[in-house]
């Protein structure tokens, strides 16, 4: 790791004034330090923000707000989340390892960079790092994207992001010029030629907290993740599902978000349309699982993810609806 200066500002405003292209914020460090060790980032200064950011989980009539410095372990163990936002607690519990969950923060989890082996290799000047070609498109792409791969076919590595999106979460972000609320559905955005990043967070902005609206008590949710091994791996595919069945047995609310299959968490709008307003049965769930895979563009090495994805969607919906 290259040398850098280290600042411990006394306030968020002081921290924001320090941040810029050559000064990066440090919280849990579990992604930032790997990027620096791989020489993908070489900031001149790290700014310690963990003690300054909101931390902890607060529930009120509006919903739940989670501070950006809250660790994944705290999210995993929180009884309110386990009960009312089950998919989020489950997602935190199957992310990474106990050690990483003790260190990693919610903010950093949303902002972590892809694990694509070309992106992570300093010698590969891939499209996402400002180059002209995505090496994975024609190269080794077993772990890569089925959806949204126009410029880059890396997948978003977060487990929490699909669950938060499924709960309609928003991020409160703050920069030198003030704060704004960004729905996570807009926060995550496919990288473009001008913005080679998976989020719309601007340089010098920090995520302060993430909020989810409250849901009626009968709302149920689930997060399912498939990996190459039972633990300590990123998702090959995952599904976050949130549903509510109305009194007349009709599906009154549904959100299905896929992880590990697109450069950003991927909402399965087609599957949601199949389900909404209908009465659940095996046939409907089968049709929804098929719809979740619609529009997929498999690459040479990752077509196996399609049946995997459908099976996860089917299993999640059966568990929640039948």
């Amino acid at each position: 790791m290259r040398a850098f200066a280290y600042s411990r500002p006394a306030s968020l405003d002081e921290a924001l004034a320090l941040l810029g292209a050559s000064a990066r914020p440090l919280a849990g460090g579990t992604d930032l330090l790997t990027l620096m060790k791989a020489d993908l980032l070489a900031p001149e200064r790290l700014v310690a923000i963990a003690p300054l950011l909101p931390s902890g989980i607060a529930r009120d009539a509006e919903g739940v707000t989670i501070g950006a410095a809250t660790t994944l372990a705290d999210i995993e163990r929180d009884p309110t989340l386990a009960q009312r936002f089950t998919a989020l607690g489950q997602a935190a519990g199957v992310a990474a390892t106990p050690q990483l969950r003790n260190m990693a923060t919610l903010g950093g989890n949303l902002l972590q960079r892809p694990r694509c082996w070309y992106f992570r290799n300093r010698l590969a000047q891939c499209w996402l790092k400002g180059g002209t070609a995505c090496h994975a498109r024609e190269g080794e792409n077993r772990q890569h994207a089925l959806f949204g791969g126009s410029g880059c076919v890396a997948v978003h590595p977060s487990d929490l992001a699909p669950a938060l999106l499924a709960f309609g979460a928003s991020a409160r972000v703050r920069g030198a010029h003030g704060e704004r609320i960004v729905p996570l559905e807009e926060f995550f955005s496919l990288p473009t030629g001008e913005r080679r990043s998976e989020t719309r967070l601007r340089d010098g902005e920090l995520v302060l907290q993430v909020s989810m609206p409250s849901y009626p008590e009968e709302t149920r949710s689930l997060y399912l993740k498939e990996m190459d091994r039972r633990a300590f791996a990123f998702a090959l595919a995952s599904v976050a599902a949130v549903v509510r069945v109305s009194a007349r047995q009709r599906i009154g609310h549904v959100r299905l978000v896929l992880g590990g299959v697109a450069p950003i968490p991927w909402r399965a709008h087609g599957a949601e349309r199949v389900l909404l307003g209908e009465e659940a049965d095996e046939r409907l769930i089968e049709a929804a699982a098929d719809a979740a895979a619609e529009g997929a563009v498999p690459l040479k090495g990752n077509a196996f993810k399609l049946p995997l994805l459908k099976a996860l969607a089917r299993r999640a919906l059966r568990s929640l609806l039948l």
Binding site: A3, F4, Y6, G29, L33, T34, Q99, L100, N102, F232
Partner: protein, 153 residues
């Protein structure tokens, strides 16, 4: 780029140890190179293996992904702080290692579990060491050692 050294006091296994380090010094390198505590191992140095597991304020963490200066004033526990610990005795009894390189990390992960849950279930044991790879494949005996330490034979 030249950066001045920072004075940091690390509290390791109950004793205060002063070091002068660059900000980029990881906790793992500070333990191994500045303090001569080589129990925590440097294997992947990327958070992918668990050989560097130590406890920070009682929680298992990867020392390779922490900066030493961020650990000032916090309680750090390494395998060197254990003396004839029931977990160590159980590892010997169950032959829970071959090369032994991952063992300090495995034991510290279990130490974090046992400090909260003195008689953990098999599921809790497997979960607690799920962030520690063993390239020799001694997993079955690692779980058996933890079971012995939990009072089940």
């Amino acid at each position: 780029m030249s950066v001045p050294l920072e004075s940091v006091t690390l509290r390791v296994n109950g004793a205060e140890r002063a070091v002068r380090v660059e900000p980029r010094r990881t906790l793992l390198d500070a333990l191994r190179l500045d303090l001569g505590l080589t129990g925590a191992k440097k294997a992947c140095d990327m958070g992918n293996c668990g050989a560097c597991t130590v406890l920070l304020d009682g929680r298992a963490v990867y020392a390779c992904l922490l900066l030493a200066i961020d650990c000032a004033g916090r309680e750090i526990a390494t395998v060197e702080g254990l003396h004839d610990d029931p977990l160590q005795r159980a590892f010997i009894e169950a032959d829970a290692f071959q090369c032994g390189f991952c063992t300090p990390g495995q034991i510290m992960s279990l130490k974090a579990l046992f400090s909260r849950t003195p008689a953990p279930s098999d599921e809790e044991i497997v979960r607690a060491v799920s962030g520690n790879l063993c390239r020799c494949g001694a997993y079955r005996n690692i779980v058996r050692a933890a079971r012995i330490a939990a009072g089940r034979r």
